[in-house]
């Protein structure tokens, strides 16, 4: 197998920042994937015609969770290194492995990054914002909580994927990601509990009963509607907004 230097793997990680730049309904991340893989293929295939053919192959359909895509990039670079040395799978074999990597990492990554880390970062940022209305810290907390993990995995993940190949999807990774999801879920519940308590009594001073009731009503309605995908939370929020406007108009109209 041809070894790829750390600088090439890091260049792939940097290019993965643009993985979704050309996202489209037909090939989804396909072109971005080829762009991120290009530094590896340039080292592995000195012959220009072969390299162009490989790059064109990699513009085919691909989609996964964008952060964990780095692991797949590293694993496929390893397969391409084997292929360049004459021991790896052919184009069809690589396409099949890419497909499996994509769907598996999407399932794991969606749970960790979209359903756990992103809501947790948002909840933490909102809690700090409720407590500090005149400070830039809420934004710093939200951004740093998510981006530190996201960028570390994106930049270093290519190296992890290359070191292990497709075996990167083994039990160890799954167990670690599952553990992270569980920890974030519990931490998120604690943060939300504190945020709701602060909203009811900012700094310990209870808000008027009408406002506490509005918060409780929103919480109850949110829990009832969260089980259904449609209407979306934004559509519900807009409808609540219109009802609130009507209520305010009628109340002030009478007084």
């Amino acid at each position: 197998m041809t070894h790829l230097p750390g600088s090439t793997l890091l260049a792939m990680g940097w290019r993965a920042q643009l993985l979704q730049a050309t996202w489209n309904f037909e090939r989804q991340q396909g072109v971005g994937w080829a762009y991120a893989l290009q530094p590896a293929l340039e080292r592995l295939y000195p012959d220009a015609a072969t390299r162009h053919e490989r790059l064109a192959e990699h513009t085919a359909y691909f989609n996964t969770q964008p952060t964990l895509a780095s692991l797949a990039l590293g694993a496929v670079a390893r397969l391409e290194a084997d292929r360049a040395a004459g021991t790896g799978p052919d184009a069809a074999g690589i396409a099949r492995i890419k497909s499996v990597l994509g769907s598996t990492l999407a399932a794991l990554g969606d749970r960790l990054f979209w359903f756990s880390l992103r809501p947790f970062a948002a909840a933490l940022g909102v809690l700090v914002a409720l407590a500090r209305h005149d400070s830039p810290w809420p934004a710093v907390v939200l951004w740093a909580t998510y981006a530190s993990v996201h960028q570390a995995v994106r930049l270093l993940g290519v190296g992890w994927g290359f070191a292990k190949g497709p075996a990167v999807l083994g039990g160890e990774l799954r167990n670690r990601l599952e553990a992270a999801v569980t920890v974030l879920a519990y931490a998120g519940c604690i943060v939300l509990g504190v945020a709701v308590a602060w909203s009811l009594a900012p700094g310990g001073e209870p808000r008027p009963v009408a406002l506490q009731s509005a918060l409780a009503a929103g919480l109850g309605l949110g829990l009832l509607t969260a089980l259904r995908a449609r209407p979306s939370p934004t559509q519900w929020a807009l409808a609540l907004g219109v009802l609130g406007l009507i209520a305010a108009w009628q109340r002030l109209g009478r007084s």
Binding site: A48, W114, C189, G193, G218, G244
Partner: protein
């Protein structure tokens, strides 16, 4: 003031880039862009009041699979930008509150209205990917870089244009109402802000709890514990 408008519109382009095409670091989240705008316009409390509500709703909107989520990147910038343009440094609290309400509505409507624009960009990218594959097969390796530069430029341009049009339109349409109906709008904001916050908290809670009673119990214990600590500290 003109500098703040230009800065807001440019931030709309940056947020549109971070949302999907470049890096996805959450720089585009409403709370982050609201903070930048608050510093830019010199009124952080107004910006954060709108940013928190839009943030809690944006957190429930997930870009999973090939679904096109609501565009809270631009929505966050437009919502906070409108609130600041209408209410920053206003002499009375109820004027600021009425601007916050209009800004929050503008942010949500901009987020919903941005979905067809994102879909349009994604369809444009299909042509770009076809062109790129053909160029690669013809031996032009730089086609990949050029395709990405074109897609990034398109996303930035659309973000800037959409932000400018939405913010300008809402500002012109609602400027009079914010002053004339400020008492009613401020009253509605007082009622709706906690309602929206509660609604958003519930969406996040659902994402964390996932029908597991232990997690629900942790939330309940955390709420009661924090409330007791806060009230005891206040009464001391």
């Amino acid at each position: 003031m003109n500098g703040a408008w230009v800065g807001t519109v440019l931030l709309g382009g940056v947020a549109a880039l971070d949302a999907t095409p470049v890096a996805q670091t959450l720089l585009s989240q409403p709370l982050v862009t609201a903070t930048v705008l608050g510093l830019m316009w010199g009124d952080l409390p107004t910006a954060l009041s709108v940013g928190v509500v839009l943030q809690i709703l944006a957190a429930s909107t997930l870009p999973v699979g090939s679904r096109t989520p609501e565009d809270y990147a631009t929505g966050g910038v437009v919502g906070t930008g409108v609130a600041l343009a209408l209410g920053a440094h206003a002499p009375f609290e109820y004027l600021r509150q009425s601007a916050m309400l209009v800004g929050t509505f503008a942010g949500m409507l901009t987020a919903v209205g941005g979905v067809p624009l994102i879909k349009w960009q994604r369809r444009r990218n299909e042509g770009l990917s076809h062109w790129c594959e053909q160029a690669l097969r013809a031996g032009d390796e730089r086609a990949l870089g050029r395709a990405h530069a074109a897609a990034v430029a398109l996303a930035f341009g659309v973000g800037v244009a959409y932000c400018a049009v939405a913010m300008g339109a809402v500002f012109l349409l609602t400027r009079g109402a914010v002053v004339q109906e400020s008492m009613r709008l401020a009253r509605a904001w007082e009622l709706l802000q906690p309602l929206w916050l509660g609604f958003g908290f519930a969406q996040l809670l659902h994402a964390f709890v996932q029908r597991r009673l232990t997690r629900a119990a942790v939330f309940g214990a955390s709420l009661v514990g924090a409330w007791l600590v806060l009230v005891m500290e206040w009464t001391r």
